[in-house]
């Protein structure tokens, strides 16, 4: 989560885990706009006729077929790419059913992406297998397909990509049915209990496999020796597999083709990491949350190709980092939430290729930052919750490539912020700290490229908002320090690029604020909780057709008021509070 600049820490974890829990705390920040992007699977713009861009004749025909789908018994006379387009549209619009599926038999489709699609079961596999040797990619994640359905895939010998995540219908016996699909290059069985040590035998013949995803599988311990012969394997994901131990890594220590290993939150220790030493092609290693200490640094320093290394939430302190300076190819390094201090940073100063450094919640102070002055390629620097204070910022003045800087919950004050005024590449800046005020913001008006500005807890008043006119490109803005009135919102109303606006906890804001915001038609997320907004103010939100998330907790607005607004004018609104 480097650069997850708008998210509170508790949410960072949730996002890392790929969970879909929403934002629960009433007054916490709206999570980042990234969260909105992740959780809604369908795009907002539905390319229907009559909405701006002229639909092609092909599109019109496809919509027509979707409307009358029951009238068609077979699309097999159509060229493959056309029937594929119709098929994709039916999935996209959730119009594909047991019946309409039959029209796609023997259409020589290449892709069948039915992940999360409702109602997929064994009988659908008959249709899938009828695509025969044309079929290249299949996703039946979260379906009710069982062993016998999976057996039908044997008729599709050219299958390259197969995903069957989140299934509890499969047995380790059923897995055997994929063992003949030797053209598979990518295989995904996230959270699948059928993947046992014995079940993994089915993978041993898949000699072309490049990518294997077993995230959250609970029974894979002991099965890794079946992967030994997969000498093209480049990417292995065993995130959150608590069962994985050091011996499992020993079993894959000879797969030197590996480039990416995701072992986030598994049961690996320093001994396990030592088995990775020979993986000289490894460019990406994620050991976040593993039970490792500084003793593993020696092993990691042997991995000279490493470009991305995540050691967040490990038991690291300042010992032994001198070995580490050999990892010259590192571009992304995450050491957040560990016990390192300035003494560790001394050994990072030669990592001059670094583009991203995460020191979130580490014991870093002003002196340590002096070691970063040579890291001029840095684009992302995460210093949230550190001891960095005003004297440290001068060391950042020369990092002119910085695009994302997080200084939330640090001790920096207004007068030091002018040290940042030359960082004109900055796009995202987090100054969520109570001691920041209008004066600090005034020192930053040269940062005209900012697209994300987080002043959540800063004490910004109406007069401070005048500086916001310099940030015409802002897409997200949070000012929740309690000091704003409607007069301040006047200086926000012209920030036409805003998609996310959080003005919660400014309890003096009234309906006038919503009237002023009514021109911000790009808004996707709006939060004015804990204010004097009333039901009468909701009318001003009607032009905000892109709005998907609206939070008006502790206002004089009820859930049914918002529901009325939703059905009247805001069809895209899918998340609102109160609810």
């Amino acid at each position: 989560m480097m650069g997850g600049i708008c998210s509170r820490k508790r949410e960072q974890l949730v996002i890392e885990n790929g969970g879909c829990r929403g934002v629960s705390e009433r007054f916490c920040k709206i999570a980042s706009s990234k969260w909105l992007g992740n959780s809604f699977s369908r795009p907002i713009v539905d390319c229907q006729p009559g909405r701006g861009k002229c639909p092609s004749l092909m599109d019109l025909c496809i919509y027509k077929i979707r409307e009358d789908i029951d009238k068609y018994s077979s699309f097999s006379i159509l060229p493959r790419d056309i029937s594929q387009q119709i098929f994709n549209e039916l999935i996209h619009s959730r119009c594909l059913t047991d019946v309409s599926l039959k029209a796609f038999r023997d259409c020589a489709l290449q892709d069948v992406f039915l992940g999360e699609y409702p109602g997929v079961k064994d009988s659908w596999m008959d249709f899938i297998s009828s695509q025969g040797s044309s079929l290249l990619s299949v996703d039946i994640s979260s379906s009710d397909v069982t062993d016998s359905g999976l057996a039908l895939l044997k008729d599709c010998p050219n299958l390259q990509t197969f995903a069957f995540n989140y299934t509890d219908q499969l047995s380790e016996h059923g897995l055997k049915h994929i063992s003949g699909l030797s053209n598979l290059t990518s295989l995904s069985f996230k959270k699948c209990d059928a993947i046992t040590a014995e079940g993994m035998r089915a993978f041993s013949n898949l000699i072309n496999l490049e990518k294997l995803d077993l995230e959250r599988c609970s029974g894979i311990h002991g099965g890794f020796f079946h992967l030994k012969g997969l000498l093209k394997l480049k990417s292995l994901n065993i995130r959150c597999c608590k069962c994985v131990t050091d011996l499992d890594l020993k079993a894959i220590s000879g797969i030197t083709s590996l480039k990416e290993l995701q072992a986030f939150s598994s049961n690996i220790t320093d001994v396990g990491v030592s088995y990775l030493k020979g993986l000289h092609n490894l460019t990406m290693l994620n050991l976040e949350g593993c039970n490792i200490t500084n003793a593993c640094l020696e092993s990691i320093s042997a991995l000279v190709a490493l470009a991305v290394l995540n050691l967040n939430r490990c038991r690291l302190n300042d010992d032994g980092w001198e070995k580490f300076s050999g990892n010259k190819n590192l571009k992304v390094l995450s050491l957040g939430f560990s016990d390192i201090t300035d003494a560790c940073l001394v050994h990072l100063k030669d990592l001059t290729n670094l583009e991203s450094l995460n020191l979130d919640s580490c014991g870093i102070g002003d002196e340590g930052l002096a070691n970063l002055t040579g890291l001029t390629l840095l684009k992302t620097l995460e210093l949230s919750d550190t001891e960095v204070a005003s004297n440290g910022l001068r060391h950042l003045s020369g990092l002119t490539n910085l695009e994302n800087l997080n200084l939330s919950f640090t001790l920096v004050n207004d007068s030091s912020l002018k040290k940042l005024s030359g960082l004109t590449s900055l796009k995202s800046l987090n100054l969520d700290a109570r001691q920041i005020t209008d004066a600090g913001l005034a020192a930053l008006t040269s940062l005209t490229g900012l697209t994300h500005l987080d002043l959540f807890g800063a004490r910004i008043s109406d007069s401070g908002t005048k500086c916001l006119q310099y940030f015409k490109n802002l897409q997200s803005l949070e000012i929740c320090g309690g000091g704003l009135t409607d007069a301040g919102v006047k200086n926000i109303k012209d920030l036409a690029s805003l998609t996310l606006l959080n003005l919660s906890q400014n309890c003096n804001l009234t309906d006038k604020t919503l009237e002023l915001a009514s021109g911000l038609t790009a808004l996707v997320s709006l939060n004015v909780s804990n204010s004097c907004i009333t039901r009468e103010g909701l009318q001003y939100l009607k032009p905000l057709k892109n709005l998907r998330s609206l939070s008006l907790e502790s206002c004089k607005v009820t859930a049914s008021d918002i529901k009325n607004l939703q059905s009247d004018a805001l069809p895209n609104l899918i998340s609102f509070r109160p609810e």
């Binding site: 006729p49 009559g50 002229c54 092609s56 004749l57 092909m58 019109l60 025909c61 496809i62 027509k64 077929i65 009358d68 009238k71 699309f75 006379i77 159509l78 060229p79 790419d81 056309i82």
Partner: protein
């Protein structure tokens, strides 16, 4: 209307549709035929023959071209498509990049 502003599209059965060049250019394929450098017959005579497109379908396609121009100028009406034409129309639309 000047002759060079018009093009002639000829169906499989030999039926000729004379339409505005602007309308025909909605099709990326026709656009390429009429503007490609060199002396293709199509470029010289403003005439394109479609041996695989029937008269009924070509007529529908010409209607679409004009509908598209209307749409682009802000008149957003519905374009009717008869269910029995859909599959054949799609194959032509695919060929014409329309």
């Amino acid at each position: 209307m000047r002759k060079e502003d018009m093009v002639k599209l000829i169906s499989a059965e030999g039926f000729e549709f004379v339409i505005d060049k602007d309308a025909a250019m909605v099709s990326q394929t026709i656009n390429n035929m009429l503007t490609s450098p060199g002396s293709f017959a199509e470029t010289q005579h403003g005439e394109v023959t479609f041996p695989e497109i029937s008269t009924t379908i070509l007529e529908k396609i010409c209607k679409y071209f004009y509908w598209h121009l209307q749409f682009a100028s802000g008149k957003e009406t519905e374009f009717p498509i008869e269910p029995e034409l859909t599959l054949e129309l799609m194959m032509a639309a695919n060929y014409l990049h329309t």
